[in-house]
């Protein structure tokens, strides 16, 4: 790098750039927060959905599955599983695990009650209604 471009100039670009773009990021975040309610339909976050998210987290479903494309890549996407499979299939599926099919990837048995399964399904239903800019490309996730 040329000698006329000094270290203190470089330092100023760092400080100026960091502060400017951090503030811009905060500004964009603020703007996003204004728009989100229309896209996440938070009016539909019922107590069931809240409890369902808690069950989702405390069973670490994200350690095998993706949810809206984030998580682990070992098992099917579940952001749209409500639309792909419907509530009854989901509940029956979770109750029936593990499949025990030799050599096939396994999902544990979580011993969830019917009420807990309903909560989980409510959470997955609400999630499937988030406006995700049309992701995933098709129903298979």
């Amino acid at each position: 790098m040329s000698a006329t471009f000094t270290k203190s100039m470089a330092r100023n670009i760092f400080y100026g750039g960091a502060v400017f773009f951090f503030l811009l990021f905060v500004g964009l975040t603020f703007d996003t927060m204004q728009v989100l309610p229309k896209r996440d339909h938070r009016e539909n976050i019922t107590p069931e959905v809240v409890r369902g998210k808690h069950i989702w987290e405390t069973r670490d479903c994200i350690g095998c599955h993706t949810l809206l494309g984030e998580g682990a890549y070992f098992a099917p996407e579940l952001g749209n599983v409500y639309k792909r499979r419907g509530p009854e299939f989901i509940k029956a599926w979770i109750k029936a695990q593990p499949t025990g099919a030799p050599g096939r990837r396994q999902m544990p048995q979580f011993h969830l009650t019917d009420a807990q399964l309903n909560d989980l399904v409510a959470f997955l239903k609400w999630t499937s209604e988030i406006n995700t800019n049309n992701w995933p490309p098709n129903i298979e996730g």
Partner: protein
């Protein structure tokens, strides 16, 4: 060793390498579960192995960063560490907390662990990379703050260099952004939005400052190039990191419910994120070419150059590959992501920590560099691990392309599990590459025990 208190770095480095080995073993377990689905089921379900794999990665990198700081800061500040005692105590607290957490994952069902550790009071668990129980998260914050206090006080009482300043900003940023791990709203979209303030703003933000500072330090040492030149580069690189990387967070805001404007912000800014990584490569080679002396530690120089190249490939090239929204629409959450995650983490953060260890450990053991034989073995381990990770990345990329094709692009899309069956060959190849990686790691550890040959005294 110029300052006695630098010696506290040694246990940190040893622990880092030990936990690294654990990480790789669990990686291999998961790699096998990908193709033999019921392997170790139900004893170690995939998600448990994954938590152990990724949390060990983060914890050992933190050990590596802390050890590096304890080594670097006294030397740069030209003064003894503020409190070596505190550093020693924190080491044991962090190690025991880490071990207890991993044992918790392995021995207790996750839901029980959550209940036992107060997750009902403040729910923070069950999110990727942030699976730690509440006490562990609080422990991380306490250890980080005490550590930051220690090195900040050291810097304040000694010489202030650009390198220590950048390192401090990076480490403080690491601690500050981790606080977002305590924010877990029941609205999933908000949860995800701020989850990235930990994950993305770490690896594509403040950690890059740490990376740059450590690399700059080692380059000054092994090349003898003028500090003014190196520090100028450092500032330009990290300026570019934050200018591109902050708004670049938007590449995670395409499909999680956030507004469409992020498709543009994310694509444009994250497309520029490879620039600082490219500069890092040019920087490393430039400085080594302009070296004013021949440092006897050839291995450390090799790791430093490797960091430049591999971080550019993993973060820059493999990041760019899937960062534009129209591409990410198809690749989001597939093996392409895993391919990139592996090479980027290895190339940037694993390699920079090993660079520091490679440079500092001989000095901590009373010599400028290891014997010729030990260095040759270390350089073999460099090549084996690095080539293995390249192959892991290539096989996962192949798997990912097929996955996207079969499951997302094809006119008759296949289901997830059927697609996985189709691409199992690549998972086998990834697993074989992983075994080679483990061999490289074992050789790396063995290089610490090679005696004989001529050593260069410090």
């Amino acid at each position: 060793m110029q300052y006695k208190s630098q010696a506290v770095a040694k246990p940190y480095f040893i622990a880092a390498i030990g936990l690294f080995t654990g990480q790789i073993l669990f990686g291999l377990i998961m790699g096998l579960q990908y193709v033999v689905g019921d392997f170790l089921f139900p004893e170690i379900p995939f998600n448990v192995a994954r938590m152990v794999h990724t949390n060990l990665l983060i914890v050992w990198l933190l050990f590596g960063f802390m050890g590096s700081a304890y080594y670097l800061v006294p030397e740069e500040s030209e003064t003894e560490l503020f409190s070596p005692k505190l550093a020693q105590v924190l080491f044991w607290i962090f190690l025991l907390a880490g071990a207890a957490t991993v044992l918790g994952y392995l021995l207790v069902p996750y839901a029980t662990l959550a209940r036992m550790t107060g997750n009902n009071i403040l729910a923070t668990m069950g999110r990727e990379f942030l699976e730690q129980p509440l006490p562990t998260k609080v422990g991380i914050v306490i250890v980080a703050l005490a550590f930051l206090f220690n090195i900040t006080m050291t810097v304040l009482k000694g010489r202030k260099t650009s390198i220590t300043l950048v390192l401090l900003i990076g480490l403080w940023g690491l601690a500050v952004f981790f606080l977002f791990s305590f924010y877990n709203p029941s609205n999933l979209v908000l949860d995800k939005y701020f989850w990235w303030w930990v994950v993305h703003l770490w690896v594509e933000g403040v950690w890059e400052l740490i990376l740059g500072a450590l690399l700059a330090f080692v380059l000054i040492k092994v090349t003898g190039v003028d500090r003014e030149v190196i520090e100028k580069w450092l500032y330009v690189i990290i300026a570019m990191s934050l200018i591109t990387g902050l708004i670049g967070t938007g590449h995670h805001y395409y499909w999680i419910g956030t507004p469409e404007s992020w498709l543009w912000f994310g694509s444009v800014f994250s497309a520029l994120e490879p620039i600082p990584f490219f500069m890092m490569t040019v920087f490393a080679f430039n400085m080594v070419n302009r070296r004013r002396r021949e440092h006897p530690n050839k291995a450390a120089t090799l790791w430093a150059l490797g960091t430049g190249v591999m971080s550019f490939l993993g973060a820059g090239v493999w990041g760019f590959l899937h960062t534009l929204a129209p591409v990410n629409y198809y690749t989001h959450g597939t093996q392409i992501t895993a391919a990139h995650g592996h090479m980027a983490f290895y190339g940037a953060y694993v390699m920079v920590v090993i660079t520091m260890i490679s440079y500092a450990m001989p000095v901590l053991r009373g010599r400028a560099a290891n014997s010729e034989r030990a260095q040759v073995l270390e350089m073999w381990s460099f090549w084996i691990m690095t080539v293995s990770i390249v192959f892991i990345t290539l096989f996962l990329t192949a798997a990912g392309i097929l996955q996207v094709w079969l499951q997302r692009i094809s006119a008759t899309p296949m289901g997830f599990m059927a697609t996985q069956d189709q691409i199992s060959l690549f998972y086998w190849l990834r697993e074989i590459s992983g075994v080679f990686f483990l061999v490289g790691l074992v050789l790396y550890i063995a290089s610490f025990f090679i005696k004989g040959g001529k050593t260069v005294s410090a």
